[in-house]
């Protein structure tokens, strides 16, 4: 017997114990496809025959079956299933997942089953059990159809079982193998002339009796061919001819199905344009009308095409319904989702399923006339209301371009006005509201550089707080800069970082040419500029016009003063215009990665509370110390005196170092902006351009407004040429001696890989000797301190830098490709989080957390969960103390003497 089952269905094996279900399942299905009740009994109780846990075993089985069906996998249930009560939940499950329930009944002779059970010592049940099961099975036969099984196959002898053959057929909507390219045509509604014009425009060869597409292409009609328009029969003839010759696919629309029912003689109200169609068809012979009805009735509700990347349906398709077959799926494809209420025009209120669509497949649909086709969450409605005097539109796939021909006249008045145009796209308006489900929980972000960057749940929690409390409007946040790794510590005396180590890193990774750019000491700033203030609305989707935005590396607004920000951005806008970059880059907006100086502009508080404070206290204390040591009291403190005089000198250097980055800002030109990357412009992310391109283009920009903009000086270094390296090192020395922070060494290509095709660091910083006093303290240059500092592991920082780099570029490229905000937001979210995932939170080696806390962390992990969110530098310490105290109290309360054994000795030690 040939058993045909759809590729996705729920197969229910039915038969008494010993009828050979498991053997049948083993022969015809993959082991993972078969869910056997005995197996689940074993899973739960270690005993496959334990009848006491039947209920639990079936609950688990149903749960697993549901997960498989949701995941679009064929599922076979191997249980006796002879009782209706056992089959009922399975049929319901199939319905719930819109797949066919299929029954395969093994109706074997009772003696054979008995015989088989005899050889299974663990199945030693009474005769009457088999008899009873058989009785139940007999009674069931009449019921299968009524219970909802779509196909029932019965095997009655061993011979039949042996010769049974299971074939899997594709479900109707599955046309994954059809790769197109396609021309998807929206609701035609009997507009034959416009359809011909559109096909002509699409390059179809139109002959009186045949229409040939351009080689390889195929047309897809999105349904609603009929009603309202003037030439419905002609349209039907044309489409049927194309479908028959295999040059087109067609799916039904709600009007088409109504026409079918009318033609079949059913009672349908001649409203919504049906009367026109029937009038036009009146003169046609009955056979033709039957032919039309037959064709329209045979259409499949929707199609999945091109490896599942494209879904076409008349009114749209939800991700979880696509590729399935049921009345619900068909109704959704024909009518979309409605609330059941009607609006003031008497039309059903539609739920916007596209707003919640999160699938990866592009969905093309029609049904609701709109004035302009627009993308929303990877879906597009291309019904531009031709019959209402709009246009007939086709979407070319995979090019994703719309081709339209205007309607020749208005054939019909819409009962509801078409949605009118606004300055912002549907997607942008939709993106005003992000959904919490798109950001919380454990997530993985696929970037084009690194696949699947995992974002832990607790980090998402931290990022949500930052994003909600501190950052600017997320629509501006199309990028956050990555952290940058320093070079390996240098072994040279008196110095911690030296360009040689940076060169060596890239040389090891077989890079021949690098660029050395001067590193500015200010605050990192991301500047987004719009050609005119309206671009902020039309491209970035903000509700108010703005010249652009300037934000810090953590996404906060750079300027507290709004008017200063506007003046700053307007001035930059002018500079870009003057440098003619709008034209040269063919863009209306530009995103720049910059350093904004002076440091004191943004870090004033930090400077006063930390840097200047250290300088002031050191100055006062060391002066007094030197004075005291100078007093001659016949004791030998000369060594100490020298030591403290040296310290005093180092403090002078330190104060000198930080002062170089501070100056008062009274007006705009006291600020200096040094751009060093053109991140993105309309349609492109500039990561495929070498750094020299960035430098050259930006220097052009800087000459346009030298008062505000500061061109970054750079050198191109040939790593295999010692002279070239030495020259750059000399330049580095000279610049840092003059107070520059240092330099950044980058491979000449924006994205560089080594010979093993591994991504390598996009940049390595190499900071000057004096500058590092701001980082490691005034006294870091003594030999003993340098020795301690040289022990530095850059690996963690490097891996973090790469992940952030990948996430940042991914965010930009998603923005450049006009993806929905949530897709950009998740990458930016990832950068915020990656930064939190610092050494402080999940410490292994280079930890800032209190060591006892580690110990505690391992032992009392669940209690510490909030700690993971709290490792901001500023609140870490009080937090850590409190956490320890709470845990101690807790343990003491539980009278655990372990508390004393734990290494909480920091206070006793001192």
């Amino acid at each position: 017997m040939n058993i045909t089952i759809p590729e996705i269905s729920l197969v229910v094996l039915i038969g008494v114990s010993g009828s050979g279900k498991s053997t049948f399942a083993k022969t015809h299905f993959k082991p993972t496809e078969v869910l056997s009740s005995d197996y689940f009994r074993g899973l739960i109780s270690d005993d496959e025959t334990d009848q006491t846990i039947t209920k639990e075993a079936f609950e688990t089985l149903h749960y697993v079956a549901a997960k498989r069906l949701a995941n679009y996998k064929l599922t076979v249930i191997d249980a006796t299933n002879v009782q209706e009560s056992a089959r009922k939940p399975l049929v319901a499950l199939a319905k719930q997942h819109h797949v066919f329930p299929i029954a395969i009944v093994l109706d074997m002779p009772e003696d054979l089953c008995r015989e088989r059970n005899k050889h299974r010592p663990e199945r030693n049940f009474a005769h009457r059990v088999i008899a009873q099961q058989r009785h139940q099975l007999r009674r069931s036969f009449r019921r299968f159809k009524r219970e909802g099984f779509r196909r029932i196959y019965t095997l009655r002898s061993e011979d039949e079982v042996q010769h049974a053959h299971v074939t899997r057929e594709k479900v109707w909507p599955n046309r994954r193998d059809d790769h197109g390219p396609f021309d998807i045509i929206g609701d035609v509604h009997g507009c034959h002339d416009e359809l011909l014009a559109l096909l002509d425009k699409l390059g179809y060869d139109i002959q009186p009796n045949s229409i040939a597409p351009p080689p390889g292409r195929k047309a897809i009609f999105l349904g609603d061919l009929v009603d309202r328009g003037p030439k419905t029969p002609q349209v039907l003839d044309l489409v049927m001819q194309m479908v028959d010759s295999g040059t087109a696919l067609c799916i039904p629309g709600n009007h088409d199905t109504r026409l079918v029912r009318a033609l079949q003689g059913k009672n349908v109200k001649p409203t919504y344009g049906l009367s026109e169609t029937l009038e036009q068809l009146e003169s046609y012979p009955v056979e033709d009308r039957k032919r039309y009805a037959k064709f329209l009735d045979s259409l499949t509700s929707h199609y999945i095409l091109d490896n599942g990347n494209l879904i076409v349906a008349h009114a749209g398709m939800k991700e979880e319904l696509a590729g399935r077959t049921s009345g619900t799926v068909r109704a959704f494809a024909l009518y979309g989702e409605t609330t059941g209420e009607t609006d003031e025009y008497g039309l059903p209120i539609r739920l916007n399923w596209a707003a919640r669509y999160r699938g990866t497949a592009t969905v093309v649909y029609g049904h609701t006339p709109i004035s302009n086709p627009e993308w929303l969450n990877n879906t597009i409605n291309i019904d531009t209301g031709c019959v209402y005097g709009g246009a007939l539109t086709a979407l070319r796939y995979p090019e994703k371009e719309c081709v339209s021909v205007p309607a020749l006249k208005t054939y019909n008045k819409p009962s509801r006005p078409l949605a009118s145009e606004t300055t912002r796209s549907v997607q942008q308006t939709h993106d005003d509201m992000l959904d919490i489900d798109d950001v919380i929980g454990k997530r993985a972000v696929d970037t084009f550089l690194i696949p699947r960057i995992t974002i832990r749940e607790e980090h998402a929690i931290a990022a949500l707080e930052i994003m909600s409390r501190y950052t600017i409007d997320p629509k501006w946040l199309i990028y956050l800069p990555p952290t940058m790794s320093p070079s390996k510590p240098s072994s040279r005396p008196n110095i911690l970082e030296h360009p040689d180590e940076a060169y060596a890193y890239y040389r090891e990774n077989s890079i021949a040419q690098v660029i050395a750019e001067e590193k500015h000491m200010g605050s990192r700033a991301i500047v987004i500029l719009c050609k005119n203030d309206d671009i902020a609305r039309t491209r970035f989707g903000l509700s108010e016009p703005a010249p652009g935005a300037c934000y810090t590396r953590t996404g906060r607004s750079f300027f507290d003063n709004k008017s200063l920000e506007t003046a700053f951005l307007t001035r930059l806008q002018n500079a870009v215009s003057k440098a003619n970059l709008w034209h040269d880059l063919n863009t209306t907006w530009i995103a720049l990665d910059c350093e904004l100086m002076p440091w004191s502009a943004r870090a004033q508080q930090l400077l006063q509370e930390q840097y200047a404070a250290v300088g002031a206290s050191a100055r006062a204390s060391l002066n007094a110390t030197i004075e005291a040591l100078n007093t001659n009291n016949n004791i030998d403190v000369a060594d100490w005196l020298t030591k403290y005089q040296n310290r005093s000198q180092r403090i002078d250097h330190y104060i000198h170092a930080y002062r170089a980055y501070c100056w008062p800002v009274h007006n705009l030109t006291d600020l200096k902006l040094a751009p060093f990357h053109i991140l993105a412009t309309e349609g492109s992310v500039h990561h495929n351009q070498p750094h020299t391109y960035h430098m050259e283009t930006l220097s052009k920009l800087c000459t346009a407004d030298p008062e505000l903009l500061h061109a970054t000086s750079y050198r191109v270094v040939d790593l295999n040429d010692t002279q070239s390296c030495a020259n750059t090192t000399a330049w580095w020395k000279e610049r840092t001696a003059q107070g520059s922070e240092g330099m950044v060494v980058k491979p000449i290509d924006f994205i560089a890989r080594n010979k093993k095709d591994r991504l390598i660091q996009p940049a390595i910083k190499c900071r000057g000797r004096e500058y590092l006093r701001i980082i490691y303290g005034p006294e870091y240059t003594t030999p003993e301190n340098l020795k301690k500092l040289r022990w530095r592991n850059v690996k963690t920082k490097q891996s973090l830098a790469l992940r952030e780099f990948a996430l940042g570029l991914e965010a930009l490229s998603r923005f450049a490709q006009n993806e929905p905000l949530r897709r950009i937001h998740e990458c930016v979210f990832g950068v915020t989080i990656a930064r939190k995932e610092c050494k402080k939170c999940f410490p292994k080696k280079d930890c800032h957390l209190l060591p006892p806390l580690h110990c505690w962390y391992l032992r009392v992990k669940p209690l510490l969960v909030p700690m993971q969110m709290l490792c901001y530098r500023s609140i870490l310490f009080p937090m850590a103390e409190r956490a320890i105290r709470q845990m101690m109290a807790l343990l003491q309360a539980q009278s655990l003497d372990r508390a004393q054994k734990l290494p909480l000795k920091s206070s006793q030690k001192v």
Binding site: I436, K788, L850, P851
Partner: protein, 453 residues
């Protein structure tokens, strides 16, 4: 950090006996966090000065992982200022003098001698006023010289550091004890983990002077690092009562918090009762104070608290974690800037002093989340009335009541906003005052009740 102790007692060199350090020698002591040097810049019979020079190994401290409490940053003032490190060094280097042990000159131990201590430099969180308040009651003549943060940038003002000279005729032991306790108090920080044993130290060192000190509460609070559990324990052990309820010295109390808060809670509760709501949202529930109050009223069958700060939320969890309430009260982490289906199908939402913490530019998003998507029948919003701020003497003009407030609306502004919300969404509003209404400035808090049309 340099600490010098000078005496003009005759013979002044007896200071050497008291300190157990020979005036003709320069000595070095190894400490866990660096080194301490002791030497005498001057040692004659007329005048003798002992110097304690502390040499902190910052990079070692930061790199060595045993004691990460000590340092937050490489760039730190700790090596140059008097701090808890100094106290520890005093106890280590001048331990006997601190305990009052001296076999060679036993009578000198308790004898008041003219002493002058100079500290280069002492961080005074609270300014020289606090310095005077702390030392003058103990009989010291205090001289403090402030230092600018940076001479090149006079606009940056003065640093918290002072070169301090303290003069008094007292036993050396007392001077060292006072320094031991009061240096970290002025610095308001400790480099080590403060635990129960710190209370014992404080009581021991404070014997005879601390309980009568006018700034006693502040000293105890700061010395125990503001740990409430510890300060309460200290008062209990000292058999004393704190002088005021609120012993935190640095907290600007602008509102009579307790009373106003209670009034707010009562007003909102009353409105909720009128609305007949059973399922209530507490949006921005913070640490769950109001959620707890709601939970005490059986009228509310389901209460959901939402908070963006995970830290606050974990405290709320602790506050409300009773098994019997688990199905009734739910606390979730979320944000008012994201659409959240978990907020659907509730009868009422309360936003108690929440909107002023939201960025004004993102208010439209918040409005849609609450009024368009969650859309409960009743929404109650309270926010400060900026008009009333002028009546608070302790609040400088133009400043907000809380540092995280992004705005504070006058009555007019609040009304405008509620009207704009009314226009956009299907609600109508009533505005009511909370707290005593001033004829000019209105109430301290304003409340808007939105009812779905």
């Amino acid at each position: 950090m340099l600490l010098t102790i000078t005496t003009t007692y005759n013979p002044a060199t007896d200071l050497g006996y008291l300190l157990h350090k020979h005036p003709r020698r320069a000595q070095t002591f190894d400490l866990s966090f660096g080194r301490a040097h002791v030497f005498y810049p001057e040692a004659t019979d007329e005048k003798c000065t002992a110097a304690l020079l502390l040499d902190l190994d910052t990079i070692g401290l930061k790199r060595r992982r045993q004691n990460t409490f000590a340092l937050r940053d490489y760039v730190t003032d700790r090596p140059y200022v008097a701090s808890s490190f100094t106290s520890v060094a005093i106890a280590r280097v001048f331990g006997s003098a601190l305990k009052g042990q001296c076999t060679d000159r036993p009578d000198l131990v308790t004898q008041p001698i003219p002493l002058r201590a100079e500290i280069h430099v002492l961080p005074c969180r609270g300014g020289d006023q606090l310095l005077n308040d702390l030392f003058q009651p103990l009989g010291y003549k205090v001289t403090a010289k402030p230092h600018r943060l940076d001479e090149k940038f006079p606009e940056w003002g003065y640093s918290p550091y002072y070169t301090v000279a303290l003069e008094a005729t007292i036993p050396l032991k007392n001077l060292l004890t006072h320094l031991y306790v009061l240096i970290p108090v002025l610095d308001d920080d400790k480099h080590y983990f403060v635990s129960q044993s710190e209370i014992d130290t404080l009581i021991r060192r404070g014997e005879g002077w601390l309980s009568d000190h006018p700034k006693r509460d502040l000293i105890i609070d700061r010395y125990l690092k503001h740990q409430r559990i510890l300060t309460q324990e200290a008062f209990r052990l000292m058999d004393e009562q704190p002088l005021s309820r609120n012993i935190k010295d640095n907290e600007l109390v602008v509102e009579n918090n307790l009373r106003l808060n209670q009034q707010r809670h009562n007003a909102v509760l009353k409105e909720l009762e009128i609305s007949g709501a059973q399922r209530v949202l507490d949006l921005g529930c913070g640490e769950g104070h109001f959620t707890q109050i709601l939970s005490e009223h059986p009228q509310f069958a389901k209460i959901l608290g939402l908070e963006v700060s995970h830290h606050a939320l974990s405290r709320a969890h602790k506050r409300l974690d009773q098994p019997i309430q688990r199905n009734r009260i739910e606390l979730i982490h979320g944000s008012l800037f994201y659409r959240d289906t978990r907020l659907d199908s509730y009868d009422a939402a309360v936003l108690l002093e929440v909107i002023e913490h939201l960025d004004p530019s993102r208010l439209p998003v918040f409005e849609r989340v609450v009024f368009e998507y969650a859309q409960p029948n009743t929404i109650i919003i309270t926010t400060p009335n900026a008009d009333f701020n002028t009546l608070w003497a302790s609040l400088p003009a133009g400043q907000f009541r809380h540092p995280d407030h992004r705005f504070e609306w006058s009555r007019k502004q609040f009304q405008n906003w509620t009207q704009s919300v009314e226009k956009k969404f299907n609600y109508h509003t009533t505005i009511k005052p909370i707290g005593p209404v001033d004829p000019e400035a209105g109430p301290p808090t304003q409340m808007a009740i939105f009812n779905k049309k």
